[in-house]
């Protein structure tokens, strides 16, 4: 049987540090219910039926928040929650959402909070790759009927898919250059602006970056460590009632696997007083 206490110990260590960082940056904790009535925009979770209504159990928190909050001018929220994705095995997630600020400032702040969070729990060796869906949309231009195939090529990093499409060679070359672009400066004011304001050597522009959820509108980013083969987290820009918004989430199950030494050093061993 899985030892729930050793996992809890690590999750508690991470959660307490993340809460502190998120609150210092002005984010307010939101307690999301386990069940939410299922609608088309609710992502992930497990669907169940109760009294002829369909509910999603522990769905993707961002989609749950977007379906649950009333219109608001500006909102800064965070959550720490177990998320299900079609199977009973959950993933613990901690994330923040910033709705209704200035685009560039929100993008910069979100990435700075991600950096501050990782540093607070003692993880300094990580990378953040930022990409842009809009740059791809602009490049695809008149070939928008092949958008699905082109984004599939990006997800698989398989340029053969693009090569097989009836797109002119000049355009293919442009896409090949985007496909393989990884650096710190790109001819896009928004992307460049965010990277310049964040000003951290661990942040790169990588136009091959993709995120699995469909609600992202432009900027997307992925957080990862050279020591583990799955991303620690990621996020991006989306829209809420016509307002720009940014958010990210850490996968705490992946994060705690990087933590063994940090937790041992960070937790003081006070065993209590033994009165004989």
């Amino acid at each position: 049987m899985k030892d729930i206490f050793s996992t809890s110990r690590k999750l508690s260590f991470v959660a307490s540090h993340l809460r502190r960082v998120f609150e210092l940056w002005g984010y307010q904790e939101v307690f999301l219910p386990a069940l939410t009535r299922y609608r088309e925009n609710i992502r992930k979770g497990i669907k169940i039926v109760h009294s002829n209504d369909i509910y999603a159990v522990n769905p993707d928190p961002t989609s749950q928040i977007l379906e649950s909050v009333r219109d608001t001018k500006r909102l800064k929220l965070y959550y720490i929650k177990e998320v299900l994705n079609g199977s009973p095995r959950g993933i613990w997630q901690a994330g923040i959402e910033f709705i209704g600020g200035k685009e560039m400032c929100m993008g910069t702040e979100i990435i700075l909070v991600a950096i501050a969070s990782l540093e607070a729990i003692g993880i300094r060796d990580f990378r953040i790759d930022i990409g842009s869906k809009e740059i791809w949309n602009r490049t695809i231009g008149k070939y928008s009927s092949y958008k699905k195939e082109i984004f599939r090529a990006l997800i698989l990093r398989n340029f053969e898919i693009i090569e097989s499409l009836p797109i002119d060679d000049k355009k293919k070359k442009e896409m090949w250059n985007l496909f393989n672009f990884r650096g710190r400066k790109f001819r896009d004011p928004k992307l460049n602006g965010i990277v310049e304001m964040v000003k951290d050597d661990r942040v790169f522009i990588d136009l091959g970056t993709v995120r699995p959820l469909p609600y992202y509108t432009d900027i997307i980013f992925e957080i990862y460590s050279p020591y583990i083969g799955t991303p620690i987290g990621g996020g991006g820009e989306y829209e809420f009632n016509g307002k720009s918004a940014f958010g990210f989430a850490f996968n705490l199950n992946v994060l705690i696997s990087l933590l063994d030494d940090v937790v041992e050093k960070g937790v003081r061993n006070i065993s209590g007083v033994n009165v004989v």
Binding site: R127, R157, N158, F159, E160, R182, I228, G229, T230
Partner: protein, 206 residues
């Protein structure tokens, strides 16, 4: 260090030969040796169905058949289709039977690939029961535990020898290159050099 994982079965020799073409030589594994090193390259030999699992969890690159990837729902990247390991995944029924796919509702299908099989029949609006086997699939209709099979077909000889006939090709298969999503970022230059070299070798008619 760049790590590769290759399947132990029919693709091993062809994969080693292809890697040699791009300048990476591993000695053919002796006896039961499963990890082989060559300078800054490391090779792990695994069961075909474990190759995507190793790559998802941190091995840098792998080679495996497309059938395995489609069945596994692989979460890494697949930058190249490789020009070897070509065969097909097909639906086959006993030779004496004459039935169309649309009439297979409720059929029992023996296969190594239950996911692909279910997806295939779903696309025809048919519900079937799949029986997962790990080998000798073609025996299942013979002993009466299945009505049909979904399996890899190369020349069709095994099917014929077991009294089966191929009635529909589900997909073409070839070997594919897998890359761990994070390795692709962390070792961006090094892995791109290898992938570009492979592209060149393929383009030059390998």
């Amino acid at each position: 260090m760049i790590s590769f994982v290759l399947p132990k079965g029919r693709l091993l020799d062809k994969s080693l030969k292809f890697l040699r073409e791009i300048g990476i030589s591993f000695e053919h594994p002796k006896n039961r040796e499963l990890i082989i090193k060559n300078g800054s390259y490391e090779l792990l030999l695994a069961k075909a169905f474990d190759v995507p699992v190793y790559v998802e969890h941190g091995m840098d690159m792998g080679i495996v058949g497309r059938d395995v990837i489609e069945e596994h729902n692989f979460e890494g990247t697949i930058p190249l289709k490789l020009p070897f390991g070509k065969c097909r995944l097909s639906l086959a029924i006993p030779r004496e039977k004459d039935v169309e796919i649309d009439k297979m509702e409720g059929y029992r299908i023996a296969t190594k690939y239950p996911r692909i099989t279910e997806r295939f029949f779903e696309s025809h609006g048919i519900e079937v029961e799949t029986i997962k086997l790990h080998g000798s699939i073609e025996l299942a209709p013979k002993v009466g535990i299945a009505d049909a099979i979904v399996d890899i077909v190369d020349t069709g000889k095994t099917l014929r020898e077991n009294g089966l006939k191929e009635i529909e090709k589900i997909m073409d298969i070839s070997a594919v290159l897998l890359v761990n999503r994070i390795s692709q970022k962390v070792k961006f230059e090094k892995l791109n050099v290898l992938i570009f070299r492979m592209r060149e070798v393929i383009k030059n008619g390998y």
